[in-house]
Symmetry: C2
Subunit: 225 residues, 2 copies
Amino acid sequence: MFDTIKQTNVTGETPADTRKRILETAGEVFAMSGYRNTTIREICRSAGVNIAAVNYHFGNKEGLYLAVLKYRQEVAFRKYPLDFGTASTDPPEERLRAFIRSFVTRILGEGEVSRFGRLMAREYIEPTNALDTVVEETIRPLFTRLSSIVRQLLGRKPKEETVRLCSASVVGQCLYFLYAAPVIKRLFQQPEFGPKEIEAIADHIAEFSLYAIGSFAVRKGGEKG
Amino acid sequence: MFDTIKQTNVTGETPADTRKRILETAGEVFAMSGYRNTTIREICRSAGVNIAAVNYHFGNKEGLYLAVLKYRQEVAFRKYPLDFGTASTDPPEERLRAFIRSFVTRILGEGEVSRFGRLMAREYIEPTNALDTVVEETIRPLFTRLSSIVRQLLGRKPKEETVRLCSASVVGQCLYFLYAAPVIKRLFQQPEFGPKEIEAIADHIAEFSLYAIGSFAVRKGGEKG
DNA sequence: TATAGTATCAAACATTTGTTTTAATCATTT
DNA sequence: AAATGATTAAAACAAATGTTTGATACTATA
């Protein structure tokens, strides 16, 4: 009768475990293969539950996907803070480095740390009905945060279009290493990105971007600070 | 009996027209929706031919896709030269600008000019069995060309990893505006990229990258030229 | 223990989609 | 005109996949 009281079945698992298991597994599979190429059967087989469980607990495939997004957003915001230990009073160079390191890790990292980031990255290239919500709740706030750092780096009164384009350059570089992974693997026989490679990539993108934005600031928009 | 003699049916079209029409239409649809999300029925309906025509002329869906890639590569290499009117003796700054302008146009441009580029961009994010061939025949040559420009810009004896990473930064920025189009549309109410926007994007990426690579050269790798 | 509500399961259903079949049509050659 | 080979067309087939059904098992409560 009470929602908080869990039943236990013969295997010692509560019914909620089935729901949770689907949620976890679906997050992995959706992040890896995208919404459309993921089958309910694959999720259920991998989670060890009956096919009908998805319909019972989430209504349909889209309902499951939305629940996964919600769950993963909640976890990501709680467990993986956006600013990797930097304060807003830190110099913008430091903040940009932290932003890029966080962004790259959330996309390229192994395991749970990248679950939400990869789901977001999937929405970029294969939008679902959730894209509108995703943009407003996640992508826009992130882009606004990045833009404020870039604006600060660009110095006095930069054109808003310059801010947008420079921010896009930063994000574009980060996403590339995820999207191009199959190509990079073939171009350079590089099998996978470990923590070492991810750090090197983040450092490069930060350096590259700071050089570029710094030059924009000097040659176009007056002095920084 | 002779291959060069075409039959004409009641509508005044030669049989080869059916093949050609499928090839053209399939190129559009594949470039727009990707291999997996494209249905033979959609192609045939859009091309105004019978469903069985694909099987008759190309064997199966994969055969059609491979024929499209081959055809589009042939057309692209013939009609849209890689170096937008620049000579290899031009200064590397000019060559990078030309490379980026060409690359961005081949990806973001409207109509036929972007057909092959978008098919390639699709292979990045949704690889097919053709990816190995695509990498060796198209992506690697292009990346090698870009790398040689970047290497020249970086000055004496740059580290090969720096060359690779800087080249990746350039390509990543370009691809972003294609992949992120649905997001950009929502973030800035920007409905589409016209020739004006494409030029602005190309100019920005070139400037951003030249600033960055220039700073790498000055601070890391000795003097240019 | 009996009952009611919840959860699980095997099976079936309906739709989509790549593929094949078989007949008809068309153009060329004899 | 007849025959032949090439092409087109409608229909059916088979597999994949999201969804639903109806029965069964389980747990908490009375």
